[in-house]
Structure formats: structure tokens, C-alpha cells
Symmetry: C4
Subunit: 188 residues, 4 copies
């Protein structure tokens, strides 16, 4: 029998695997100094800062993915594909982080970083709506969370533009999204 | 007591782990430009395209693996080994992708890419039959999905041959398999 | 409905993914000798020793994470974030290990190693208290385990200081924490 | 309350994560040729052969781990630690494989490869006995499987010695263990 809907167990197991590998792969870009001089380690601070910021972004996506699927009982193929799309966007995060650190937060790479942070937010918005449709038949229930997502998208876009004027301000805007998401969210 | 059959939980957990690491390992091949010049990033487009195409292929395998095991209640040793064989074939995908990107989609590497995409399809076909045998005792039920798999195998083979004439056409054929698999499939 | 509490399944799946990738990523730093001479392999003993010590530390954290969450039925957002914080600290372990091995256990890198081993212990302490609060409403129950954690923190700090006098003694102190944690712990 | 026994769910999730990362990390050692010449790819056959052989070994360990834990309902701390020990031994497999491929299967690296394949077999034997003790209170039930394990250990040891005389014969002996383990095993 063709079951069009399935339970989310495997989607979650696969997503958790993706999240954990995406995050830890970023650690590989923390290059080890070849000397024991403290200065050699200290001058790597931009790499550590970039890693910390990206870990925070990925952590926020995970916590929100967790909150989004907590009450979900059913997923359809649309949800599977949108989830894959969101994970694809997230999988570019290690690249964006290494690019930011390697070039020392110059304007263009910082803008690319903000754009790549924006991509999973766009996919997350579609995913959220698809899950609402399958599980409640009503897209309006999660309006607060959807709105918050739109604000995040706006902040990322603003950060991308700001990067050409001040990379530091752009990164602070990206960090601002994290702060905004510390509070728990009502998805349904 | 020797139980010849077991439930698929662990097979799925292991497979999801393999899928997620195989996919994310491909990200490591996206080299970071050493300068902040936009041109340096833009000239890397073949790497990003290769990654995108391979992510799509791996995603399709995951969605189909998900659909294949959704109604499966029992697995035997044959299924365990065929699943391992399919994952082995999939694990060559990061190599094939990096090879394609590194050589700039020349004929021979493109043919190798198509062949390596073909290998998991061959294993998937055997796996599909083995699961039908254990769970339904009837290989004919999933005829539509089996047929689709055979078409995919044919497309990959055609792509491998086409690569020597036009690598671009070959990659479009590989992409064509993805398009064909967007529609959901009835495995039982 | 906003459920403020959730079951720990996904937190555990994600954590297990993080643990396994963090540990195995350290293997990537075991460089392969380019010649078949036994001497070339033997002179790599500091790398293997560093890997062994770090594997032991990570293993201890996993076993304790396992013990901590065994009786936990509920997690709140605070637990999610503290768990993410602990995994962040753990994710720096491959860096610390490679740094230790690369510089040949000089004083400063050894102190950095001890400090990085200390960070997850600090987060673990907060995580432990947060879990007690959610699941029992009483932080005093796990007093023995909390005390053990404080002793571990003290040992790591002592190791960090000792490193400037004797890196070997510092690494023995870090190893001492492992020995102390071999015995099972009562978290509730 | 201190529960000395726990269910194996998390041990299995963590182990599956470790297995999948250990296996896929080996793919990273398949270096990509820089030219599109078929010859450049073909001369890499030892790397592919080494990867294939190691994948087979890891696959056998996974299938046997699966069979060993299938009827296990309880695990104690001893099982947790022995499982970690076995995974530690397995985690050296990518190193051994790269070492074998890099040096072109010279005698010493081939002997090291056989020894590293032997280590998880030794840990697996202890793990098997520990699981029998917790779940059945009787170590004699799994005598057939234990004996098979001892034969495997003997074959690996013989392979290590044979390597100094003929690396090819040694690798065939390692392959022989795989063949022996294709048949399903009765662990209880």
C-alpha cells in the first residue's frame, strides 16, 4: 500500500546526523599552530570567533528544528524535500565560515557569509509552512514563529548589505539573530 | 535463540549516519579562496555545481531508501549485506564529485562520475528485491518502482557513454534521473 | 499548544552524532608515514598517545552523558542550550589534541589542552543541575556526582598550572580524571 | 535511584555513528587525480583495493555488532567501556588503511594493518562475554560464535606474521576472515 504520509523518525535521525557532521566539520578548519608560542595561537582569534559564531547559528537552527518537529506526527514528501533543501543550505556553512576566517572578514566574504546564513532561514520558512499544512491543515497557527523567521531573514539581508560598509556591524547583525532566537518559540 | 530476521532500526540508524557523513564530506572539497576578490569565488562555480548535483543524487537515494524501508518490518542478513553494498557504492560519490570538479568535467572523469552514480542504483535494485522477498514473499508487487530503477540504470549508462561525446549532455542526463525521481514511488 | 518540556530523544541522537564525529575527526590528525620503515611509524608515538588520551576523555564524557540522561524524562530549553554548550566545548578537543601532538607537549600547549578538557566539565556541571531541576525539582539529590565533577574541574585546573612546570605531570593529572571516572556514578 | 543496568539504545546509536564516520573517513584518503587521463586514475588501484578491503572488514564488524546486540536487553558499565574499547580499535582502521595504501603494501605496513584489524576482534571477544554475562548469566551459550572469533584472531595473527614473507598472502588471509564471517552467527 502506498502510504503518502510517514512518521518523522528517519527524517529526524538523518537531520541530526547532518547537523552534527556539519558542525564538527567546521572544527577541521581550526588550523593548529606549528609552534608552542602563545602568540601563534592568539593570532588565530578570528578563526575561533568565526567558529563560535557559526556554531551558535547552527545550534539555533537545531533548537528550532527540534521545536518545529516536536509536535509533528506526519511528514509528506514535500516535507522530506524541503528538509533536504534546508540541510543543503546549512551544509554550506562550513565553507562560508572558513571563507570568512581565511580572508579576515573583508566586505565581500562577510556578505557571502550573511547570505549563506540566510539560505537555511528561507528554506526553514517553507519547511515550517509545509509541516503546518500536513499536521494541522492551517498555516495561520504558527504565525508568531513565521513572523520571527521573516524578521531573521530581514536581518540577514541587512547584514549582507551592511557588510560592504562595515563587516563588523554585519557580523553583529548575524549575532543579533542568535540573540533573538534564544527565547523559545511556539510553532503550532 | 537464533533469530534469522530482525527489525530494521539499526540498519536505518547506520544508513542515516552513512548518508549524512557521505553528503557532508563532499563539502570539504569546496576549497576556500585565499583572497576576498569576488572573482576568486566565482571561478569556483564548477565545484559548487558538482556539489549541488551530487547532493541532489544523494538526496534522491535517501528519499528512496526512506520510501523503501517505510513499510519494511523485517530484514535478513541478505538485506544487511546488500544495504552495506549500496552504501559502499554511495561512499564513492565524494571521490567522483571531487574528481569531476578537479578536472573540470572532462570526458573521462564525467564518464567515471556517471558510472559511480550508477553503482548504488544497481545495488538498490537488488536491495529492493531482497526486501520484497523478506516482507511480502512476492517480487512482483513493486514492479513499477523496479522498472523506474531500471530506467535510471539505463540513463546512467547512457550518460557514461555520452560523456565521451559531450560531458555537459552526460551531466544533464544524470540530472534527468533526479527529475524523474522527484515524484513519490510505490515500493510495495 | 506550546509544550515547554520535551522528551530527550532528539537531544540524545544529536549528542551521539556529535560525540562520534568529534572522536573520529581526531583520527584524521594521525598522519600516515610516507615510508615503510618501522622507525617512521614509531617516532609518531606522541600523536598516538595524544589520540589515546583524548579518546579516553571523550569516552568518559560519553559514559557520563549516558548516565546523566538515563533517568531523565524531560528536557527544557535550558537543557538543550547547556547541552549545546557542552558539545561546543567538546568539539574543541580535536584542535587541542592536534595542537598538543604537533608541538610535542610543550608547556603552553599542554596548559591549553588541560583548559580545553576543563571547559566541557564546567558545562557538564551546569547541565547536570539543569536536568535535576527539570526532572526532580531538587538539586541536592545528585550531590555525590556534582562533587566528583568539582574535583575533576579542580584536577584540570591544577593540570593547567602544572603544565608550565612539567607537561608530563599535567597530562598524568588529566589521565587521573579518567581513572576517577571509571567507577559508575549516581546522578540522581 | 542508581540503576546499574540500562537498555542498549544509546550505546547502539553512538556505535552506529562511530561506524559510519570511521568508514566514510576512509574515503577522504582516496586522493583525486589532477588530470583527466585514465592512467592517473588507474594507477590508484591500490588505494581503491585497500579501501574496499577495509570497508568489508568494517562492514563485518557492523553486521556482527548488530547480531551481538540483537537479543541484548541490558548493558552494564563494563559493556559500555568494552564497546568504547572496540570502537577505539576500529577507529585506527582509517590510519591502517591509508598507511597500507601510501606505502604500497610493503611487509611492515601490511603487518601493522593485520595487527590493527586484530585489535577490534580482541575487544569484540571480551565484549561478547560481557554481554552474555549480563543478559544470560552463562558464557557458554555463545560458544560457537566465540570459537569463530578465536579463529579470526588466529587468522589475523597469522596474517601479521605472513606479511613479512608475502604481503599479498597476508592480505588474502585478512580477506579470508571476511569470507568466514559472511555466514550468519549465533551469539546466544
Amino acid at each position: 500500500m502506498l502510504e503518502k504520509l510517514s512518521t518523522p523518525e528517519r527524517l529526524l535521525a538523518f537531520s541530526d546526523g547532518m547537523f552534527s557532521v556539519i558542525i564538527t566539520i567546521m572544527v577541521l578548519d581550526l588550523k593548529v599552530p606549528h609552534t608552542a608560542e602563545p602568540a601563534a595561537l592568539i593570532e588565530q582569534w578570528p578563526e575561533f570567533l568565526a567558529y563560535g559564531l557559526s556554531y551558535l547559528q547552527a545550534g539555533i537552527y537545531w533548537v528550532n528544528h527540534h521545536a518545529l518537529f516536536k509536535p509533528a506526527e506526519k511528514v509528506d514528501d514535500r516535507v522530506l524535500w524541503l528538509n533536504l533543501l534546508m540541510l543543503f543550505a546549512l551544509s554550506l556553512m562550513p565553507f562560508a565560515t572558513a571563507y570568512l576566517a581565511e580572508t579576515g572578514a573583508k566586505p565581500f566574504p562577510t556578505a557571502v557569509y550573511a547570505i549563506i546564513m540566510l539560505l537555511p532561514a528561507l528554506a526553514f520558512d517553507r519547511l515550517h509552512r509545509a509541516i503546518l499544512r500536513v499536521n494541522t491543515g492551517d498555516e495561520e497557527i504558527g504565525r508568531g514563529a513565521l513572523l520571527k523567521g521573516v524578521v531573521a531573514i530581514g536581518l540577514y539581508l541587512t547584514a549582507a548589505g551592511t557588510a560592504f560598509w562595515s563587516p563588523l556591524a554585519a557580523l553583529l547583525l548575524v549575532f543579533g539573530v542568535s540573540v533573538m532566537y534564544f527565547a523559545p518559540i511556539r510553532y503550532y
